[in-house]
């Protein structure tokens, strides 16, 4: 009887696994979202616990320190106002040129701030979960960035949360341009499992002229990432496949290991 019992358990678990693994992608995604909602109460609890030290520090911050911060923010605000006025004039000038040459008008960026609430528990994926979901208009393949540069794209979204696949993950491929005279173009692919501050820029032409420190930005090809988002800087380059093409190591502009808040880009 005991033997029968463990054979039944073996068969049942194997069958359940095979059923789960053979689910179509849409059903598998829905199942993950449904089971993921079990963790929602814990997300709320964790958020409250994370806010507690901040709230305690707020009550302890002296008035002098607050005044100093206020003064610094006022000064920064004045600088930003001056820059915004200058940018407004440039935008107006740009608009006039666009009309003059008949170029298509650029759509302004619409961004929504999100908190990073969780990281992938598996070591072989680089993903994070954010606290924006379909109720906030988040859907698959929306670009995610910070003020420093590109972070990744939304891979799935539930009602309250979304999973973001980071630029250092194998499932996030980005077409990129090097800001050099030749405007060399390549594909960003993951660096290594340990250090997620570096990625590889592959499929650059064999005669690409790359120098350390050159900026790498998104090319806008592929339809997911808009053109011009900073990705990082070239560290070094080497020829591969007998010089057929060049591969470069890129230091990412964003520190993916310490992400706390990100912006979701809406077209």
């Amino acid at each position: 009887m005991l033997k029968q019992k463990h054979y039944i358990a073996l068969g049942a678990v194997t069958l359940a696994t095979l059923l789960l693994l053979s689910l179509p992608p849409s059903a598998a995604s829905r199942l993950k979202l449904a089971i993921g909602s079990w963790f929602l109460p814990l997300f709320g609890l964790a958020g409250t616990v994370q806010q507690l030290p901040g709230a305690a520090a707020d009550t302890l911050l002296p008035r002098r320190e607050l005044l100093r911060q206020l003064e610094a923010l006022r000064r920064e605000n004045d600088q930003l106002r001056a820059q915004a006025a200058q940018a407004g004039a440039i935008a107006q000038e740009n608009e006039q040129f666009r009309v003059l040459f008949g170029w298509q008008r650029q759509i302004p960026w619409k961004l929504k701030l999100a908190n990073v609430v969780m990281r992938d528990p598996a070591n072989w994926w680089h993903t994070v979960q954010i606290d924006l979901g379909t109720r906030d208009g988040v859907r698959e393949n929306l670009p995610v960035l910070t003020t420093e540069g590109l972070v990744g794209r939304v891979s799935s979204a539930s009602y309250t949360h979304a999973q973001v696949v980071l630029i250092s993950d194998p499932n996030c491929k980005v077409s990129a341009i090097v800001e050099n005279p030749a405007r060399d173009m390549g594909i960003i692919s993951p660096g290594g499992p340990l250090d997620n501050s570096f990625v590889e820029l592959s499929y650059l032409s064999g005669n690409a002229t790359l120098r350390a420190g050159q900026n790498v930005i998104s090319s806008g090809l592929g339809g997911v990432f808009p053109k011009g988002i900073p990705i990082g800087q070239i560290v070094d380059a080497r020829p591969v496949e007998f010089g057929l093409y060049t591969e470069a190591r890129v230091k990412l502009a964003v520190n993916l290991g310490s992400l706390e808040q990100v912006w979701v880009w809406f077209p």
């Binding site: 073996l10 598998a28 990281r119 528990p121 072989w124 993950d169």
Partner: protein, 191 residues
């Protein structure tokens, strides 16, 4: 300890599942070890060692299915990838449980290390079989070592915690007093 009543088995199953749920959530939200050692420790294999040595095959199966599903839900794994590796580890230990000196911390450490080393390798093999491209490289070897060491350290701790829960929450049969009235020795003197 191992011939526990049915109600205790049920309570133990619930406790193990709750621990698995919290462990998966903790692995996803607490980044201390990840930032320090560039690898996250998985506690599910260590929990599976405890479940395989102290509970029945039903609990082992339930832990594999739910623990694996929870883990896959919070990660980018397709759902179901972690179930079979966890169950394989638990099943083999459960089959050999009579031969294992489960009370010894050394045995727990060794079993925890083996389980934590085997489970991720099997998961990656399942992923590769499914045509997925997990992020692997020489650095993965370091991550595997960290996971093995983490599991080895966590297993005896899990045993201690669950033994404590078992004593605190489980039914303890009242101990029989040594006094028996029919064995009373009368020390009176006949005059």
């Amino acid at each position: 300890m191992f011939d526990v009543p049915h109600s205790m088995n049920f309570l133990q199953t619930i406790l193990i599942l709750a621990a698995a749920f919290l462990a998966v959530f903790g692995e996803a939200t607490l980044g201390g070890v990840r930032q320090w050692l560039s690898a996250q420790v998985d506690l599910l294999p260590a929990l599976m060692v405890y479940a395989a040595l102290n509970t029945d095959i039903v609990t082992v199966s339930v832990l594999a299915v739910f623990g694996g599903l929870w883990f896959d839900t919070l990660s980018a794994n397709p759902p179901g990838v972690s179930i079979l590796p966890l169950f394989a580890v638990g099943y083999v230990i459960w089959l050999q449980r009579e031969l294992i000196l489960r009370e010894l911390p050394f045995a727990q450490v060794v079993l925890g290390a083996i389980a934590s080393a085997v489970a991720p390798v099997l998961s990656v093999l399942v992923l590769l079989t499914l045509g997925q491209q997990p992020l692997l490289g020489w650095g993965s070897l370091w991550q595997w070592l960290v996971m093995t060491a983490g599991g080895a350290v966590a297993t005896p701790v899990i045993f201690v915690l669950f033994d404590w829960c078992h004593h605190a929450l489980g039914y303890q049969p009242p101990s029989e007093p040594s006094f028996r009235p029919d064995r009373e020795i009368r020390r009176d003197r006949k005059i």
